[in-house]
């Protein structure tokens, strides 16, 4: 039996922990649809959303998850524009310790920042995305969405497309999907897909047609505008032509392949609206719904000691 104090990444979890979390999240998904709540579970506990980077979607999702379980939820946004952001991080940790916070949800633009905080605070730290490192709740909600639609979370071929190099969503997904016995394909231009990311069960492609062949799931990643100014790709137009998901490229995958995107989408850059809004193929809104359920499961699990 192992117990987890924090959720800093998918790395460190095991298949049993992932399965338990998905099962728990599934039950919360049903509860949410029924309109009922479980407000006694986290009653009297304090959850602080500490966001050093803007994210309406993830913050709201954690906020709803906390409230539905009865926690007192506080949102803290910290500007990161000044060079003293590091000091702010540890100063904030000291402040939070003084407030006796139980659950601390952290998003930061630097890899490893939640791990640093976890060393300094008494609360359970949940990584809500750190730099280009990990975004574990996103990988869990993606897995739950896949499992609900495909009936399993093993033996699937999942193509992750676009800016893998700068994506924490991609890293957490690769870790989770390979751990559970799926096949992962990474597709993008060489400047956005690091060759050394390929491990056992992971293949790299630079061509959508080859990469998508036989895929059960097509997961698109958001492309940041900085990738153009940084010279990693020449233009949005060229990127969309070769790596943007439109109906034609989707036809290379299995006929029943489903489309995921962590949001927010850049329509016309990495994904065409016709695909994004396709009620049959796209599961993007279901991902958002599962996000709340997964975060409820994570909060509930950690509050009960993170036992596996």
């Amino acid at each position: 039996m192992a117990s987890f104090k924090h959720l800093l990444g998918i790395e460190g979890l095991n298949p049993v922990a992932v399965t338990n979390l998905l099962d728990l999240a599934e039950s919360y998904a049903l509860l949410n649809r029924s309109g009922k709540t479980q407000r006694d579970l986290l009653r009297g506990r304090t959850l602080i959303n500490l966001f050093f980077e803007d994210s309406t979607r993830t913050r709201t999702s954690f906020e709803l998850a906390g409230r539905r379980l009865g926690a007192d939820v506080v949102n803290m946004s910290v500007a990161t524009s000044s060079v003293t952001k590091g000091e702010t991080l540890l100063d904030t940790a000291a402040t939070l310790n003084a407030m006796n916070c139980d659950l601390l949800v952290v998003r930061h633009n630097r890899s490893g920042a939640p791990a640093l905080l976890a060393q300094k605070v008494g609360a359970s730290v949940i990584n809500a995305g750190d730099g280009t490192h990990e975004h574990p709740t996103q990988a869990l909600l993606d897995a739950l969405t896949m499992r609900r639609n495909k009936g399993r979370i093993s033996g699937l071929t999942v193509a992750i497309c676009g800016d893998v190099a700068h994506s924490r969503v991609a890293r957490s997904n690769i870790l989770l999907l390979t751990m559970m016995g799926n096949f992962v394909r990474l597709i993008g231009p060489p400047t956005l897909v690091p060759g050394n990311i390929a491990t056992s069960g992971v293949e790299v492609f630079h061509d959508m047609k080859k990469g998508l062949e036989g895929a059960d799931i097509v997961m698109m990643l958001r492309l940041q505008k900085e990738r153009m100014t940084g010279g990693l790709i020449p233009s949005m137009r060229e990127f969309f032509a070769y790596y943007g998901l439109d109906r034609k490229k989707l036809s290379y995958a299995k006929p029943d392949a489903l489309v995921l995107h962590p949001g927010p989408m850049n329509r016309g850059v990495e994904i065409d609206s016709a695909v994004a809004d396709d009620a049959v193929r796209s599961r993007i809104t279901e991902q958002v719904e599962m996000g709340v359920a997964v975060r409820m499961a994570v909060l509930d699990w950690l509050a009960r000691g993170g036992v596996v």
Partner: protein, 423 residues
């Protein structure tokens, strides 16, 4: 005070081997040594069976924080760490605040060193004014004031044109340019060596090739200009190969490395340990092994501490934001001796890289046990061990990448010109 070191092993310079016997120090110089010197009158006798007496270590590369960064380290606190580590001479990097780009500042460092009474400080002069990489510093005047070579410290001379000019102009004064070998554009913003580890940790990375690219360019520029180039803290197999071949061709190329690069590899940054964030970054295991091989075959001319003092506020940051650099004075000897214990180097080879070789490079008479030589000495027990612990190291800087590490080789005493300064 006259001292007789009795029944010790000492580094015999003529034979490049360890000899058993006595060493006599009179009036601050080494008066005699041999199998047995009897018991002259009026001497303090130091008997230390099993201990090794070596010349005080000559550290080719360290930053001391002063002037400008006294919150990290002062010359006085560095002297304390140096004495603990058996170091009696340090070549000091110029990228302080102000930068050492003026003869008066060269004198300041030299004088401050003399004031410690335990440490000779030999200042590097800035290669460019303010270490800004724009215009050459006054090599002639700086050298006359005592600057031992020219470098921009932890910053690479990035411009090919400027590097060519620096090498060429320095050659006129018989001076060397010391390069931080890193292609500036490839290294920009990087926090770890490129590879699977950096990718999975989500850290901005510097390819190992950034070092070789700079080294290849500068070897070519040294050849073009007739200048002498020295590559500091070399860390990669590829760069060492280039340097090895340049030396074979008789070019004026030398290099050093530092203990982290032959003792640690990139795995030390796991869990975002910022004390292991160095510049250049810790490399892959095959590069570490290449550094060890280059220590053995003579490609590397010296082992320097590469001491870069940082305080807690510099390091308790997310990895990418933390200041690179590790404290190295206290651990220079111990970590180097680990290569003797594991059989990679002989004791005389290891000590030569810490004493005679860097002294020769600097053109100073230190680093030897010879009759008439200044009695800068270190006596250490190679069998005894101690544990490196951040927070308990001598001196101010506690940012050791070797935190928690047990090392063999305890300094029993350090002498500066015959005066005991440690132990």
């Amino acid at each position: 005070m006259n001292i007789l070191f009795s029944k010790i092993s000492y580094l015999d310079p003529s034979a490049q081997k360890l000899s058993a016997g006595d060493v006599l120090v009179q009036d601050g110089v080494i008066a005699d040594f041999g199998a047995s010197l009897g018991r002259p009158d009026g001497v303090e006798v130091i008997e230390a069976p099993g201990a090794v007496l070596a010349p005080g270590l000559v550290d080719l590369r360290a930053s001391l924080g002063e002037p400008g960064y006294e919150y990290r380290e002062t010359i006085e606190s560095a002297a304390e760490a140096a004495a603990f580590g058996g170091i009696t001479t340090i070549a000091v990097l110029p990228d302080s605040a102000p930068v050492i780009d003026d003869p008066a500042l060269v004198h300041l460092i030299t004088t401050k060193g003399a004031q410690t009474g335990s440490l000779t400080l030999l200042p590097y002069g800035a290669a460019t004014r303010g270490c800004r990489g724009e215009e050459l510093a006054e090599y002639g005047l700086l050298k006359e004031a005592g600057a031992v070579a020219f470098t921009d410290g932890a910053k690479a001379l990035g411009s090919s044109r400027l590097m060519r000019l620096a090498l060429s102009y320095a050659a006129g004064f018989g001076a060397r340019i010391v390069q931080h070998p890193e292609d500036v554009e490839l290294a920009k913003g990087g926090a770890a060596t490129a590879g699977a580890r950096a990718t999975w940790m989500g850290l901005p990375a510097i390819p190992a090739a950034a070092e070789a690219i700079c080294v290849a360019r500068d070897i070519r520029l040294a050849e073009l200009s007739g200048g002498a180039v020295h590559f500091a803290h070399v860390t990669t197999a590829e760069a060492l190969d280039l340097i090895r071949r340049a030396k074979e061709r008789g070019l004026k190329v030398t290099c050093d490395t530092a203990p982290p690069y032959f003792d640690l590899n990139e795995t030390a940054i796991g869990d975002y340990r910022t004390y292991a964030k160095l510049s250049p970054p810790l490399r892959a295991e095959n590069d570490r092994l290449a550094v060890v091989a280059a220590l053995k075959d003579g490609t590397i001319d010296a082992i320097a501490s590469d001491h870069q003092p940082r305080d807690a506020d510099d390091k308790r940051l997310p990895f990418a934001d933390a200041a690179p650099g590790g404290a190295g004075l206290a651990t220079l000897l111990g970590i180097t001796l680990a290569q003797v214990q594991n059989g990679a180097l002989t004791l005389t080879e290891a000590l030569a890289l810490l004493t005679a070789k860097p002294a020769d490079w600097l053109g100073i008479k230190a680093g030897r046990i010879a009759r008439g030589a200044i009695a800068d000495l270190v006596l250490f027990d190679p069998e005894r061990s101690w544990q490196v612990q951040s927070g308990k190291l001598p001196g101010k800087a506690q940012n050791t990448p070797f935190d928690g590490r047990a090392v063999e080789g305890v300094v029993l005493g350090t002498w500066k010109a015959g005066k005991r300064v440690f132990g």
